[in-house]
């Protein structure tokens, strides 16, 4: 290629420079994509391809709260079972329920169980519509417990205790400064500054908001008269997604929000200890599992719908959490996938995987619920 002028040389050099910069940006991909299609490149890890492992592809969709948990389980599962591919698309609980009820995915992930009350403008309820699509009862299997931390950023206050009533008052604007007598009364010996409280909430509809408002209403009904739901009904500034609220609190002195435990830990925010009436409880995996054990089952048989007791006074139980359910058909529409689904769900519910999830900010299923889930998985056909 004969370069005819200095201008051509300059433009070619420019293109070469830009493409070098662009290609240098294509470093190692740290798989942060929502759709985790981790292929079996982990065969180098020496994972034994167990001959008892079924092969095939599973497609799931739904909750973003369980995204990190399910991605880790999928990665582990595909290491041991190299013939299997599991895809999970974290598009939100609403989309997950919709896709599952439409029969588009093999299993769904949702922060709340299929509703048994009709929504305005649709026929039937989510549960009945799912049953109809499956041709058999659709089951809600609780699989991932996500603790919700009340995260704050207050200079010089590493430890903070909150009761449900004070938390509700803070989040609906009744208490406006950190050195309010109500907060000081439950934090004796801590000097609280006069910084104004800046509340941050989730501007997108989310299961975290749903469960947090349910906790406030359940544990402090007189202080939280507003409705519960995926849309925030308190005060404050709205930020997008958990990363948005956590970043906002991190950069604002006096900021407070409710967010998943992993985000609070990653951004090194202060995490309040919750006193539900039985003493302050530090947020930890076992504390959350204790609260889940106190839940009541309201579904029938293998449809394990848990009604969480947010006002629980079990000592050492951390009451603010969300449970993500895997939505499955009890009689699968495609029999070829049943073996793979059962195998994957069994791995998901196994003690080994559940304990590993603590490292990324989740709490393991308590033994009683785990046993029930295992029974239900075994009954899938």
């Amino acid at each position: 290629m004969k370069l005819q002028s200095r201008r051509q040389l300059a433009s070619v050099t420019g293109v070469a420079l830009v493409s070098t910069l662009a290609l240098a940006g294509c470093g190692s991909n740290n798989n942060t994509t929502a759709s985790s299609t981790a292929s079996s490149s982990a065969s180098a890890a020496g994972g034994s391809s167990s001959s008892a492992c079924p092969t095939g592809t599973l497609n799931g969709e739904g909750s973003t709260a369980q995204k990190n948990a399910i991605q880790q389980v999928i990665a582990d599962y595909q290491t041991t079972c190299s013939g299997a591919t599991v895809n999970y698309n974290a598009t939100g609980s609403g989309a997950g329920v919709k896709q599952f009820t439409a029969g588009q995915v093999d299993f769904g992930g949702s922060d709340s169980s299929l509703k048994s009350t009709p929504t305005a403008g649709t026929t039937g309820t989510e549960q009945t519509n799912a049953d109809k699509t499956c041709g058999s009862p659709a089951w809600n299997l609780p699989m991932v417990t996500g603790p919700i931390a009340v995260a704050y950023n207050l200079k010089g206050v590493p430890k903070l205790v909150l009761t449900p009533s004070v938390t509700a008052k803070i989040f609906n604007g009744a208490i406006t400064t950190w050195n309010d007598p109500a907060i000081a009364a439950i934090n004796k010996g801590v000097t609280l500054p006069a910084t104004p409280i800046k509340i941050f909430f989730r501007s997108d509809e989310s299961g975290t908001t749903d469960n947090f408002t349910k906790y406030l209403k359940g544990a402090a009904p007189s202080d939280w008269p507003a409705a519960t739901g995926k849309k925030w009904t308190g005060k404050g500034e709205g930020k997008q997604a958990s990363s948005g609220v956590s970043n906002a609190v991190k950069s604002t002195d006096g900021g407070i929000t409710y967010t998943e435990w992993s985000y609070a830990k990653d951004d090194k925010l202060g995490i309040a200890q919750i006193d539900n009436g039985a003493g302050p409880v530090v947020l930890s995996g076992p504390a959350v599992s204790k609260a889940v054990s106190a839940a009541r089952q309201t579904g029938a048989g293998n449809n394990i719908v848990l009604k969480l007791d947010y006002a629980t006074k079990v000592p050492g139980a951390y009451p603010i959490l969300l449970v993500t359910y895997e939505l499955v058909c009890s009689k699968a529409k495609s029999p070829a996938k049943v073996a793979l689904l059962k195998s994957f769900l069994t791995t998901f519910a196994s003690t080994g995987e559940q304990t590993k999830l603590q490292d990324i900010g989740y709490a393991p299923l308590p033994a009683s619920i785990q046993a029930q889930v295992n029974t239900a998985i075994a009954a899938l056909s």
Binding site: A120, S203, G238, K239
Partner: protein, 336 residues
Amino acid sequence: MSTITGVSTVDELPDPEGHGPFEGDRASTGRLGDRLFGGTARGAGVLVIAMVTLVAVFLLSQAIPALAADKVNFFTSTQWNVDATPLQFGIANLLWVTVLSSVIAMIIAVPLGVGVALFITQYAPRWLSRPAASLVDLLAAVPSIVYGLWGLQVLGTHMAGIQSVLERLFGWFPLFQDAGIDASSTVLTVSVVLSIMVLPIVTALSREVFAQTPTLHKEAALALGATRWEMIRTAVLPFGKPGIISAAMLGLGRALGETIAVMVILSALADGTPWSWSMFNGGETFASKIANNAAEFDSPQKAGAFMAAGLVLFTLTFVVNAIARVVIERRKVFAE
């Protein structure tokens, strides 16, 4: 062979390539090429019009049932309860934030863009104008999410100073009142980021138009004793006005519809926050509100409410573009 006047053997015999008389080789100057090209152009035009019409029909069909069920005035209400019956939703907040952020963005971007275009075409030496043009065009290649993150974390930290100065000087005017929102997440910050996003569009189009200015007009102005600025004012700018208006309208379309950057930067407001005209307030635009809630469209009624908001945005952009077209047509008549 006859020797009758007006008749020639060429008209009766085949031509050297073997085609019959009066046929030619059907190349692009022939009838077939004309028909094909004209048909394709017409088809493309019809397709575009059809797509716009179909989008409008889709929005209307989704929105009308929800609008009919709305219990409060759609245009003046600030409520947004679309989950439960009774359905109550209004777009007053959304409309104001959308319009305010776009107008401020255009106020910043259009003079700046025209200035950059003038510099590139009229003032800059040849070796500088092309790289400068490429650099400005590169701004258009930056993804919207990157603008959002940059705006929140880098620009936002510097807005506090500007905000406090403006509040001190003009705080008595409703547009500049303090609203209690952190300076990195206000309508003003979003407007600045939007103006940067709109700048390459305005600059690129203005640049093209200014480069087309007839040299004769420019030389005539200079010959009559005009300075460089007077020449630009009398020869270049009037010629380029329709182009600048087109550029501004395209930029406004981008600013009105910008979603991700607004979602990341702007703080949403809780229900029941008192109304404020201020540019230091938070809020949501049409696009960011729809995008924030798109995953949770549980029922057709809920989706319909958001579609109604989208319909308002669609109509707003349409009306603004129509006004711009009228203005351009009127100016064109005088410029010919």
